[in-house]
């Protein structure tokens, strides 16, 4: 570790592209004599950022983003697609690797602590949910990520003034509109922001002051305002060209997650099962190993017509196990005696379990 001061780069809003390339540039330009850096920056226009190994065309509604004027930019940080705009203040640490703890988990403990202390100073009861979420009463308030860039360990996250849930759900490529509705509902239920918690978010300067105090306390080091170096800016310009190119955006992604993660404990997935009497679609929201919400639809004919909705209600809260789900549905068949030709209890169970299987943890 070290006692040398940390350079603060508190930047004016920059283009979406530069809001990504600038911290990569500082990371890759880090030399033996370079200071550790904390960078604060917001984009001056909305955009979509995708994870290092995601397939842009599979994860994001690219035609919609083009129409809406949202650039889609791959980052060298992992994780999923996210809609970003000026309502988030990115808080990026670009440190010499040996100035941060060695393991990823330990780095997140320190980094998350700085965000948690900031929110608490602002009157928001935030806490770190390992590995890298910040929660307020079970709702996520921003995500974090990390990467190695040559000699630099980079940890990124944001302070969430506000978040546009509807646009976030709109930019994702989803299997159905029902699924999209579930994403909107889930983000509304399980995400929060400074605006949600406080009514009005504090001024940017107030948040930054609280954040810098928190960083000083967590890292035990001084923080001094500084400027970008010419070599960092030159590298950012080079990276602008690379990050804006089709080759980088369309690079084959190896990461396949057939679900949308809302936060560490909550995921939404969709699956279909072909029963003799028709196709059953199941949109499933799982929270900590239980069915938090489920919605059935399909081309079957049921009497009573309320049957799929009855099953939605019946299964909410159930543990995800074939036995538990099966018992509840068989009990419904015994009590209600539905007329639904070619659809047995086992078909509903199969649809649920198939959706549940797609949500294996990352």
């Amino acid at each position: 570790m070290t006692a040398s001061p940390i350079r603060l780069l508190d930047l004016a809003p920059v283009s979406p592209l530069r809001s990504q390339t600038i911290y990569h540039a500082v990371g890759y330009a880090l030399g033996a004599d370079s200071p550790d850096t904390i960078m604060l920056v917001s984009p001056n226009a909305p955009y979509v950022s995708i994870g290092r190994h995601q397939d842009a065309a599979r994860e994001v509604d690219l035609p919609y983003c083009a129409e809406a004027g949202y650039p889609v930019i791959r980052r060298e940080i992992g994780g999923g697609a996210v809609y970003l705009d000026g309502n988030q203040l990115f808080t990026q640490w670009i440190f010499h690797a040996d100035h941060l703890p060695a393991t990823v988990e330990e780095r997140f403990v320190v980094y998350a602590d700085s965000l948690v202390r900031t929110y608490r100073a602002l009157g928001i009861a935030a806490e770190h949910r390992p590995i890298n979420d910040i929660h307020v009463a079970g709702r996520k308030i921003g995500g974090t990520g990390a990467a190695r860039m040559d000699g630099a360990e980079v940890v990124v996250g944001s302070l969430m003034f506000d978040f546009d849930v509807a646009t976030m759900a709109r930019v994702l490529k989803v299997p159905s509109e029902k699924f999209r509705d579930k994403i909107i509902q889930s983000l509304t239920d399980y995400m929060t922001t400074m605006r949600k918690e406080l009514g009005e978010p504090p001024a940017r300067e107030t948040v930054i002051a609280a954040y810098l105090d928190a960083c000083r306390a967590v890292l035990g080091r001084d923080i001094e305002r500084g400027e970008l170096r010419a070599d960092e800016l030159a590298l950012a310009e080079k990276l602008d060209a690379r990050f804006a190119g089709r080759e980088w955006l369309e690079e084959a992604g190896g990461l396949r997650k057939p679900f949308v993660k809302i936060h560490e404990g909550v995921r939404v997935a969709e699956a279909a099962h072909k029963a003799p009497g028709g196709l059953i679609r199941c949109v499933l929201r799982v929270r900590d190993g239980h069915i938090d919400d489920v919605a059935f639809s399909g081309d079957f004919t049921a009497r009573p017509p309320s049957m799929p909705f009855d099953l939605d209600e019946l299964l909410a809260g159930s543990e995800i196990s074939e036995k538990m789900v099966s018992e509840k549905i068989e009990d419904y068949y015994r009590r209600v005696r539905p007329e639904i030709p070619g659809v047995a209890p086992s078909d509903w169970v199969a649809a649920v379990m198939r959706a549940a299987e797609t949500e294996a943890p990352a």
Binding site: G51, R52, H53, E76, I77, G78, G79, D98, A102, T103, V104, E105, F108, I131, N132, T144, G145, A146, A147, R148, E251, A252, G253, G254, L255, A362
Partner: protein, 145 residues
Amino acid sequence: MTDVRGCNIPEDLYYWVEKHVWVRDDGDDVVTVGITDVAQHLANRVVAVTTKRPGKLLERGQSVATVESGKWVGPVPTPINGEVLEVNPRLASEPTIVNDDPYGEGWIVRLKATLWSVQRAEMHTGVHAVDEYRAFLEAQGISCA
């Protein structure tokens, strides 16, 4: 298996210790490259690995692959100069083999080394490698326990 602070460090491989990369000499200047047990432990569960394509020429220190764990992305620097001959085809669909078997099924690439006789001397192997790795892990406070 040689246990170093809970990490498996086989003596029959060559190591670039501070980069947590291993090399196996397959003969005729062909080598296999992978990440160590320490690296997979530090990174946590791997969710994606992308590699440079066969035919790509690399110099020592350049990235031969990018590894993404649930929370972190990092490069796999090649410890030697060479041309990528082959990439592990299973990594695309089963990236966790890097965690489960980092020295076996989880190998990353095979290279045709261009300076093997020189660069092998710049790496550590055998009992000496184990000692070097132990000293490094102790200095960094790293263990796989």
